[in-house]
């Protein structure tokens, strides 16, 4: 039986000067790289593939399998792009990882590049986190100086350049093909798939795009082996992962645990719900996933169990809302987000989120009409599955699921012409804005 919490990727956070090469080496850093470089690239890849590691950026696709989709080498370049555009509402694990332990990500990127035959890798970081960019730039410079990057890494004959690139504010760039367009110096708009990035990605060359946490898991799996990784988690959701609790829990924060821990356990670890209140609803994987209530507290938070319960594990961005919160208000604000962040390329997403925002705002403001309930049912059907990328699919998730659990709350807003909740009751501070 694995322990309840299992700090691994988070195990060096908070150590003195944890972001420096010196501290990283002292804690055993770059040993996995040495081991990888002493093996055949195919063995490094197969170890990760056999570990069952699944993507930590939301979709949960097996990481090693994604790598193996690259076509055979043709002599031209192939790229690794690390998706560090962490922007899904509620998601807050990659940013502290890169701030506290950037070398962990860099080591993972080097090993992955070696495994897939890449000689120029990129970390695409969202631009709104300047101190994280400083830490990454500093760590890359240190790694290069020490011979972990550049030509003939540690005398292995393997060469790798690593460019850390800052975006400029666009949620859509977390979608892998939009990210690639952005990295090519264009508007970040999704591409039609196929071709998938594995075949035609960055500069139309074979490309692997992986989330920060996925890549940061690679050194651990390389060092300790796939059997060890599989001894944690569940059969189909192996290993450990970072669970991010935010909102109305006593101790919000990052809790790294074997996949399959339940929300009941996590809320308990976080000291329970805010004093004097009860849990009303929670988001299991960010705002693009269907909401859960008290009913799902015992669902194991692994990829397949959460799908079976009607939502998605996503990025394990567990946002908790207690009984002081108006669900219409929460959903309305998420729709503001999607309407703002829709890139505008696909009409169903651009127009659908715009109209949902308008209708939700008027309901929350007490100006809703009885026929609005039907509109809220209809518009999501015109968006989901009808846009290029998952932004459109995810945008109505909170709305559709909230209608399932809290339909009466919407009707109450419309019938009584007002919101029955006091927003101040949900604030985390006592003072009231004058």
């Amino acid at each position: 039986m694995t322990d309840t919490l299992t700090p691994l990727l988070t195990s060096r956070w908070g150590n003195p000067d944890s972001w420096t090469l010196q501290a990283y080496l002292k804690a055993g850093g770059y040993e996995a790289l040495k081991k990888a470089l002493s093996q055949d690239a195919a063995d490094v890849l197969n170890n990760v593939k056999d570990s069952g590691l699944r993507g930590r950026g939301g979709a949960g696709f097996p990481t090693g399998t994604k790598w193996s989709f690259l076509p055979p080498p043709d002599g031209g370049p192939r790229y690794l792009v690390v998706n560090a555009d962490e922007s899904e509402p509620g998601t807050c694990k990659d940013i502290p990882l890169m701030m506290a332990d950037p070398h962990q990500l860099i080591e993972g990127a080097i090993i992955t590049s070696y495994a897939i035959g890449c000689h120029h890798a990129f970390i695409y970081l969202r631009g709104e986190v300047v101190h994280v960019y400083r830490r990454l730039l500093g760590a890359v410079a240190e790694a290069k100086k020490a011979g972990y990057l550049g030509k003939d890494i540690l005398g292995s004959g393997f060469d790798l350049e690593l460019t850390v690139h800052a975006g400029a504010g666009a949620y859509i760039c977390g979608e892998e093909t939009a990210l690639l367009d952005s990295l090519e110096g264009r508007r970040g708009q999704p591409r039609l798939k196929p071709p998938f990035p594995a075949v035609a990605g960055l500069y139309a060359r074979p490309t692997v795009v992986n989330n920060v946490e996925s890549i940061a898991s690679v050194p651990w799996i390389t060092l300790n082996g796939q059997e060890w990784w599989k001894s944690m988690g569940t059969e189909k959701s192996t290993g450990v992962a970072i669970y991010s609790l935010s909102g109305h829990v006593q101790q919000p924060g990052q809790y790294e645990a074997p996949l399959g821990i339940t929300m009941r356990q996590l809320i308990d670890l976080a000291g329970g719900i805010r004093a004097g209140h009860e849990l009303k609803f929670w988001m299991p994987g960010g705002s693009s996933t269907a909401m859960f209530t008290q009913e799902q507290l015992d669902v194991p938070l692994d990829y397949d169990s959460v799908v079976a319960a009607g939502s998605m594990l996503g990025t394990r961005a567990l946002q908790v809302f207690d009984d002081s919160v108006c669900v219409v208000r929460a959903v309305s604000r998420w729709m503001d987000f999607y309407a703002h962040e829709s890139c505008g390329k696909c009409t169903p997403c651009r127009e659908g989120t715009f109209w949902l925002r308008s209708v939700l705002r008027r309901i929350e403001a007490g100006r809703g009409k009885p026929e609005d309930m039907q509109i809220l049912e209809d518009i999501p059907k015109s968006i989901v599955g009808k846009a290029f990328c998952p932004l459109g699919d995810g945008a109505p998730s909170s709305l559709v699921s909230s209608l399932k659990y809290f339909r009466a709350e919407y009707e109450d807003h419309i019938e009584n012409g007002r919101c029955p909740f006091d927003p101040k009751a949900a604030y985390l501070f006592k003072e009231v804005a004058a």
Binding site: D3, L5, P7, W13, G14, N15, P16, S18, W19, S87, E88, P89, G90, T91, M99, A100, G127, E128, V129, V130, Y133, R135, L137, G138, A141, V164, H165, A166, A168, G169, E184, G185, R186, R187, G188, L223, N224, W228, K230, M232, Y243, S246, P252, G253, Q254, E256, G260, L269, S287, R333, W334, D336, F337, P423, Y427, L428, F429, E431, A433, A434
Partner: protein, 233 residues
């Protein structure tokens, strides 16, 4: 372009360094737009022309990109951007009240700059710090666990020229132009300042330490499948 010869020469030198990071010059466009913001305080007509000339693009191609991303400003930005997160979770935890109070204190609304050019107030979307809600970003540095009073205090201190330190970041907040230069990929020497992590980031780790919880020792893993089977049931 109306850049003086010295400014232009410095821009060209920096641009060459940025372009050298990529296999294809056009990939340098986002960092170059950050770079022109570090010189002009926004993406100026001069800046657009500079990017277009440098990368052999049309003015329309550069403008199309500059208008897509929220960090690129089309009018002169304040010395400090005060960005209050108003995405659902932060808004509900108190972000709305913080924004309203700041707006009242500064006398400007969303995406507006104070007459003295000191502050631009902005409603920002989720900035990946939800466990520190409600969050404010000042020139893209983290100010965690804000209240209306604490946010106004930050603005007041900045206005009076007092040094202001983010919760997780460098020893003090730097100007919009200085930070824009970092975002173009030029280190400013402040990467070793500030903490490793905030308290919320460390809660799981500390709880595990207090309880003696850890990952299994490598090599001590149960035979393939056995432990995994048990866990999944």
């Amino acid at each position: 372009m109306t850049y003086g010869p010295e400014t232009l020469e410095a821009l060209q030198r920096d641009a060459a360094e940025v372009i050298a990071r990529y296999p294809t010059p056009r990939s340098a466009l986002l960092p170059l737009l950050h770079l022109v913001q570090s010189v002009d305080g926004y993406v100026s007509p001069d800046g657009i022309e500079f990017c277009a000339q440098t990368l052999d693009l049309t003015l329309a191609e550069v403008s199309a990109v500059a208008t897509f991303y929220s960090q690129f400003k089309r009018k002169p930005n304040g010395q400090y951007t005060l960005g209050v997160c108003i995405t659902s979770l932060c808004a509900i935890m108190g972000g709305d009240a913080i924004f309203d109070k700041l707006s009242e204190y500064l006398g400007v609304g969303n995406d507006e700059t104070t007459a003295d050019g000191m502050f631009t107030l902005e409603k920002i979307e989720c900035n990946a710090a939800c466990d520190f809600a409600p969050v404010m970003m000042v020139n893209w540095e983290f100010f965690d666990y804000q209240t209306p009073a604490s946010a106004v205090q930050v603005a007041e201190d900045l206005r009076l020229g007092r040094p202001v330190a983010p919760t997780r970041g460098p020893d003090r907040v730097h100007s919009f132009r200085e930070v824009s230069r970092v975002l173009a990929g030029f280190l400013d020497g402040h990467e070793d300042e500030g903490p490793s992590a905030g308290d919320a980031s460390l809660r799981g780790r500390k709880l595990a330490e207090a309880n003696g919880w850890a990952v299994p020792a490598p090599g001590a893993a149960a035979p393939a499948g056995a432990a995994a089977e048990g866990e999944s049931k």
